[in-house]
């Protein structure tokens, strides 16, 4: 763009000088704001009395957690199983609803503009509420337990999955669909033959990815009574049973590592 003619030939620069200065100025303002914000936090919002002993406290807590209470594992198998079930059944439920919602929300497959608006509403509303909040509400309605947790995970995941799915549907190669349409195929057949094969890998990837997220999510749902290992975590913390807490954290870590490995393997296999 800015090519400046000089006596010894044209010179090329990425930006014009005023633009470049403006960009530098922008950076300076950003840094100044950051520094000022930190100053404010330090002056008003920090409880300085805690600071000198913070390191000592952390070390203390660690020491109280070691060694983990291995025998407590006997009581953890059931909650871990619940947690896995909440995540898995919740994810399956979410995908079952998310797929039709995604087809209704994608511009190229929606039957009508109003249907699309409604589908988008479902996506936004389920997505905007955190699963912990869904769980709070559902525990209130259905009582504490695994069912509330599963529904909370499922509801929260509909929007997240649908959004990724409908974006994938909108990005397909239209030629392939046109070719199917030209054979005299019905709209449903066009979806089954022209669109579904193209989005299948994304669908599988999204499902597994969501399951992976949901495993992590479902470990904390117990905090509000919606079943799973979070319940044990919260009661152990309340009774200051730190060796149990560390045992639970280890179990959660193991579960998450396993779920991530599985989801990475599956996604790799599909793509």
């Amino acid at each position: 763009m800015p090519i400046i003619d000089k006596p010894d030939g044209p010179v090329w620069k990425r930006r014009k000088t005023p633009v470049q200065l403006l960009i530098w100025f922008g950076w300076m303002v950003a840094i100044a704001i950051t520094v000022m914000a930190w100053k404010r936090i330090a002056a008003n919002d920090l409880l300085w009395v805690y600071m000198p002993t913070a390191g000592q406290q952390a070390v203390d807590m660690m020491q109280r957690m070691i060694p983990p209470n291995w025998s407590y594992m006997d009581k953890l198998w059931k909650p871990v199983w619940d947690t896995l079930n909440i995540a898995t059944i919740g994810s399956v439920m979410a995908m079952a609803i998310a797929v039709p919602v995604a087809f209704a929300a994608a511009r190229n497959t929606t039957p009508h503009k109003l249907v699309r608006a409604f589908a988008l509403l479902i996506i936004v509303s389920t997505r905007s509420v955190n699963s912990l909040i869904w769980a709070l509400a559902l525990v209130f309605i259905l009582g504490p337990g695994v069912l509330a947790g599963t529904l909370a995970i499922g509801l929260r995941s509909i929007g997240g999955c649908s959004k990724l799915l409908y974006e994938a549907i909108e990005e397909i190669d239209h030629n392939q669909v046109e070719a199917i349409e030209a054979t005299g195929a019905s709209r449903l057949q066009q979806m089954a033959y022209g669109i579904l094969p193209q989005v299948m890998p994304t669908f599988a990837g999204v499902g597994v990815f969501r399951w992976d997220i949901n495993i992590r999510q479902s470990t904390i749902l117990g905090l509000v009574g919606a079943g799973g290992i979070g319940l044990q975590l919260s009661s152990s913390m309340n009774t200051l049973a730190w060796t149990q807490v560390s045992m639970i954290l280890l179990v959660i870590l193991g579960t998450v590592v396993i779920s991530e490995t599985v989801s990475a393997k599956v996604r790799h296999a599909i793509i």
Binding site: A179, E181, A182, T183, A192, Y193, P197, P201
Partner: protein
């Protein structure tokens, strides 16, 4: 017989893609539709099977007026017209067999097609067609494993299994090398003869158009500017269609190139 009467197409953007096109194609005739990019060739054949709806004018396939059909009747009418595409437009993640059988979707119900329960007769026909184009051994491969020429052969099978009266062929060779282009064009031509099919073939390549068609129609900025035998493509006509250029070289090459290649290809086939 296909008949277009005063067909106009104006896109939402305001571009007039077809201007008063009137054209008649008798049964069994293969015509080449030539013209520069953007002349409306693709629009014209898409108006026939109504992937694009003409703005005004009438199109008849036999006694059926295609332009006034409801969506159900249109689907039935589309079964009578096979389409072959520039970029093959195969469903990449389906197998060759599934791609060929997708040509029967207009004939089978949704659940039958969903569970891949095509009538035995259709499956046999698919095998026969794949054998005809030399791809029988590829039936179970996924479409994205094939080369360009092979994909286009699958595309041809998909169109033919519809058992159409008319082939709409949109730039079948644009993504292929010169030799494969000729093989594909010859294959389309042979198949049309075998089955007495009429065909409209959109094509950039003037040489190929002359070699493999009985009649050439020239389109320029949406208007018919030439309609005649392949020999009628003299430099003046080409200048009229495409604009000023040294056309002598293009046309002279035809005969020598053609014969040479035909001999060469005959050897390959044998």
């Amino acid at each position: 017989m296909l008949r277009l009467e005063n067909v106009f197409k104006r896109y939402k953007t305001g571009d007039l893609a077809l201007k008063d096109v009137t054209l008649e194609i008798p049964d069994g005739q293969v015509i080449a539709l030539i013209g520069p990019s953007g002349a409306g060739k693709s629009t014209l054949i898409r108006c026939v099977n109504r992937l694009v709806n003409p703005t005004s004018g009438k199109i008849f396939l036999g006694d059926t007026e295609l332009t006034s059909l409801s969506s159900g009747a249109l689907r039935k009418a589309r079964r009578r017209m096979g389409m072959i595409f520039q970029e093959y437009a195969l469903v990449e993640r389906l197998t060759v067999m599934e791609n060929v059988l997708s040509g029967r979707l207009g004939y089978v119900g949704f659940w039958a097609s969903w569970f891949r329960k095509f009538p035995k007769k259709d499956v046999q026909e698919a095998f026969r067609l794949l054998d005809r184009v030399g791809l029988l051994h590829m039936a179970d491969k996924r479409a994205d494993e094939l080369s360009g020429g092979q994909r286009q052969r699958v595309g041809i099978c998909r169109a033919l299994i519809q058992n159409p009266e008319l082939l709409l062929v949109d730039e079948p060779t644009a993504s292929l090398d010169p030799k494969t282009s000729r093989q594909i064009m010859r294959l389309i031509n042979e198949l049309c003869k075998e089955r007495g099919l009429a065909a409209i073939i959109n094509i950039h390549d003037v040489l190929l158009a002359q070699m493999y068609s009985q009649r050439v129609v020239g389109l320029k900025a949406g208007e018919l500017v030439f309609d005649g035998p392949p020999e009628g493509l003299v430099p003046e006509v080409l200048t009229d269609i495409y604009g000023e250029e040294d056309w002598e070289a293009t046309i002279e090459e035809v005969d020598e190139d053609d014969e040479e290649l035909l001999v060469e290809e005959a050897e390959v086939v044998a």
